[in-house]
Subunit: 252 residues, 2 copies
Amino acid sequence: MIRNIKLTIEYDGTNFQGWQIQKNDSRTVQGSIENALKTIFKKNIKLYGSGRTDSGVHALGQVANFKISTSMSTDEITKALNGNIPKDIAILKTEDVSKDFHAQYSAKIKTYRYTILCRKNRCAQQRNYCLHYPGKLNIRSMKEEAKSLLGKKNFKSFQASDPAKKAKNLKDNTVRTISDINIKRKADLLIIEITANGFLYKMVRNIVGTLLEVGRGKLEKGCICNILAKKDRNCAAFTAKAHGLSLISVKY
Amino acid sequence: MIRNIKLTIEYDGTNFQGWQIQKNDSRTVQGSIENALKTIFKKNIKLYGSGRTDSGVHALGQVANFKISTSMSTDEITKALNGNIPKDIAILKTEDVSKDFHAQYSAKIKTYRYTILCRKNRCAQQRNYCLHYPGKLNIRSMKEEAKSLLGKKNFKSFQASDPAKKAKNLKDNTVRTISDINIKRKADLLIIEITANGFLYKMVRNIVGTLLEVGRGKLEKGCICNILAKKDRNCAAFTAKAHGLSLISVKY
């Protein structure tokens, strides 16, 4: 019997060229796990992720699935995978799911977290997991402005042009629904968590870059409504660096 | 005028051969900071740490001092150092202190933290900062047994033989005072914090190894009193791995 196996995966994206296998020999998370699957099951197995993450982006709860006929228990699969993947990836959970489950197409809600170290001096231990921002930020105005992102909107202004899709000449539907934005201070850290039914290419990093400009006072009250209305990537601010971003969870 | 400068230093010990400069060309924290001092002040400057940390051990609040005649402000020194040291070290604070301050000899109290990930599956992001322990631990008995370590005691049983001191044929005073041991569970993590007026070579890691054996039920109630009484390293358990250990603070 063919089983459909769902994996919940943590990774440190620092030394990966992102999630998705590439034509060159780049070190990718998908590639590393598929290699381990091949070692364990002695055949090529395709792994379907909930979505790509870019080079340097981390995950605490990426989800992927693959099909296999095996008598191994889910615990045994977890153990075998963790023994065969590199140390910067960890399989947190392995589950049997129904045969129509697809990590990407069945996904209903995703949450990303962006972490900013807000203090004068940089850190050492968490340097690959947060953006160091030494200046002052008006967090109240960031929270206030972020409210304009909530709900079902056209986020075209926050979408980076995606070389893969450009090549295929695909036109995206750029409407998404952000159900929650939580901006909280925790000691020296400013944590921005965004939950939506889906995200456009680099959407979280473009939103964070824009919120940082709001916090610095470089963008005024009402700017996010204006940027959304323009439907033009050039109206939003810079793309915040990859290493502050982490995919926290995918819900089905 | 010669100034005495105190540094508070964070580092990720993963890729260092410990704090102390060695005769070979090992990458050390002290060596990396002394190199930066030489670049900034154009001369050799000796840096005095509060104590050595071993290869792989981290610090959130190591303290060191050096003497210099300069008109730079403490903020300028912090900035110049952070610009010239590797990314896995960060200078958190720079202060002028009295001329008789010595990071090692003036130290009154140190706190070390040992972090254990207590769950079946390993992690990826914090893999260099915690020991993965997949089995069950009786935390109540660890806490109970740890009480026997509190106070002024001879910790000879928890001291590893130190090759540096052995070479010099030094005999240590092995009496220390542990003023606090705090064992707490925080989600999947078990955190053991030990505060003392000083620590013998590998003392924290030997204590943690012994407490783990208590938690596993391999050592019985009263074992720590017995081990202390024997004054023999062979009576205590294994040395817990370096990467779970972090020097949290040094007080003066």
